[in-house]
């Protein structure tokens, strides 16, 4: 910051104003996010069971030892990773393709944009209920009959949500359907921010379309894409609603997630301490991943 050299009374007053301006938000975050989270960290070291009349006991790392010994929890972590590494790239590519398709000024294009954005406005709990019906087993299920139609009858009906191979992909598809529109809008905005001169310059150079895409569009979209990937990754690790409604974590933990295991422990079994320990692990994992992503992004920036 160039204009600052030393502190004057005027600047001191401005500093006070800054504190005053940020205080309500910071206080809110402190009270309603940071303090409860620190409490959750503390609870993870105890034996707290919701409503239990037994005295609270300090268990050290016992809850952590247990959850890492629990194969369901390891499976949950693995599923979260699988989900993130499948959904994030697929959804981003799909959103990018859609945004490229829709980034033109043709009549009716706004209609199509709204069309692809529509699923985003549906609350996940409602989306999941509808997709349970879509994935209904038997030839009368919507997805089954659709696949039968496009495969000219070669598809034999499956019970998607109870099939260990298909349950997680089914949840992925649901999530991609719901989330793509949001990414699309953001990428679309990014596309529109690219100065037209860059394309003109490239056109003069005789660059073909996909070279234009490679050398102009993609580098210009870099920050947008990083943002989109970061947000989608965080959301992927929070995956819960779809699992709760569509599969309850089954079959055989094929779709369980850390958040599902945590809510299951804390609410269905009232084992609050165990649930708290799980969410702390989740926090650390997401922190690590965001940190890695930021590092990778920064390195690329230096290379470029």
């Amino acid at each position: 910051m160039t204009m600052l050299t030393k502190s004057t009374p005027n600047q001191k007053r401005r500093g006070l104003t800054a504190v005053f301006m940020s205080a309500p938000a910071l206080l809110g975050l402190l009270l309603f996010v940071a303090v409860p989270f620190l409490l959750a960290v503390a609870l993870g070291f105890t034996n707290l069971r919701l409503g239990s009349p037994l005295p609270l006991e300090w268990l050290g790392f016992e809850q952590y030892r247990r959850i890492f010994a629990d194969p369901s929890f390891s499976r949950a972590l693995l599923n979260n990773l699988l989900f993130a590494f499948t959904v994030v790239p697929l959804q981003t590519v799909l959103a990018l393709l859609l945004a490229l398709l829709l980034n033109r000024s043709l009549g009716g294009i706004a209609f199509f944009r709204t069309l692809f954005f529509m699923p985003v406005v549906f609350p996940l709990s409602l989306v999941a209920v509808v997709w349970v019906l879509i994935f209904a087993p038997g030839p009368n299920g919507m997805m089954n009959s659709f696949l039968e139609l496009v495969s000219f009858g070669a598809w034999t009906p499956r019970d998607f949500l109870h099939d260990p191979q298909l349950a997680l992909p089914a949840i992925m598809l649901t999530s991609i359907w719901q989330g793509t529109g949001f990414q699309m809008v953001i990428i679309l905005a990014g596309l529109q921010a690219i100065p037209a001169e860059l394309y003109e310059a490239a056109a003069i150079d005789g660059a073909r379309r996909w070279r234009q895409f490679w050398h102009v569009t993609l580098p210009q979209l870099r920050n947008t894409l990083i943002f989109v990937v970061l947000v989608t990754t965080i959301l992927a690790f929070r995956l819960f609603d779809q699992v709760q409604i569509m599969t309850q974590g089954g079959p055989h933990d094929a779709t369980t997630t850390v958040m599902f295991e945590a809510v299951q422990a804390a609410f269905a079994r009232q084992q609050v301490a165990r649930g708290a320990a799980m969410t702390v692990v989740l926090f650390l994992v997401v922190l690590l991943i965001s940190w890695l992503q930021r590092r990778v992004a920064r390195q690329e920036r230096e290379v470029l």
Partner: protein, 276 residues
Amino acid sequence: MSRSAGVPLFYLSLLLLGLLFISPIGFMLAGSLKPDARVLVEAGDWRVFWPAGLSLDNYLDVFARVDFVRYLLNSLFINGMIVGVGLLVNSLAGYAFARLQWRGRELLFGLVLAVMIIPLEAIAVPLFYMVSLAGWRDTYLVQILPFIANAFSIYLFYTYFIGMPRELEEAARIDGAGPLRTFFTIIVPNAKPVFASVAILTFLTQWGAFLWPLMVTSSEAVRPLPLAIATFHSLPPLQWGDIFAFGVMMVAPILVVFLLFQRWFVRGVVATGIKG
């Protein structure tokens, strides 16, 4: 590829893709307009999208089974407050982080970014104990206050303000305006898009809130819409027509909000999202 052949082909493929994309919504919409018994029976062929025996019975059912208007007003009020007060509080903080110099700024901003990662489910139980001790259960307040300060919103405002040209503010400053006056007279009028984006995003994420209201409320007087759907979605045999009708009515307000602010929303995203 010649342009004359390309455009119709382009529309056709877009239309096919679009239809595929909204087919689940079509399924829901058609289902909400036909008798419960036919919703699933007809799911295996084209009739799934055809509202056979077009009737509004399911919608009337929704009104008969729950006090829909009451739930809707609760939801609108709660979300309106979260969005409205949240815009003020978070934009002020975003501005303080983006433009003002003060001690502890860097550290606090780092903490705000870290807090962004924590999902509500992770803190629901301790937070619940806290608000219970405070005696806030079963009120509007307990559904609003914890969600006003929002790290993600602060971050979006921050990135937008950082990208704004400084000249306007400098001029105001020379005229003797303090940061608060500068913010309200110069920044806010020039930052409508980011306000629209944050408003829509906050609205979208809060509208479907289920877990928290379930834990902290018990009377119909303050419960939001997503809890009303529990009335339809718990006792078999499930009446899918009613559930779909409820869904359509629940989504309609968000769609209206989105359509109203769409233009600003896209512009706001241009200036925030791309800063990464």
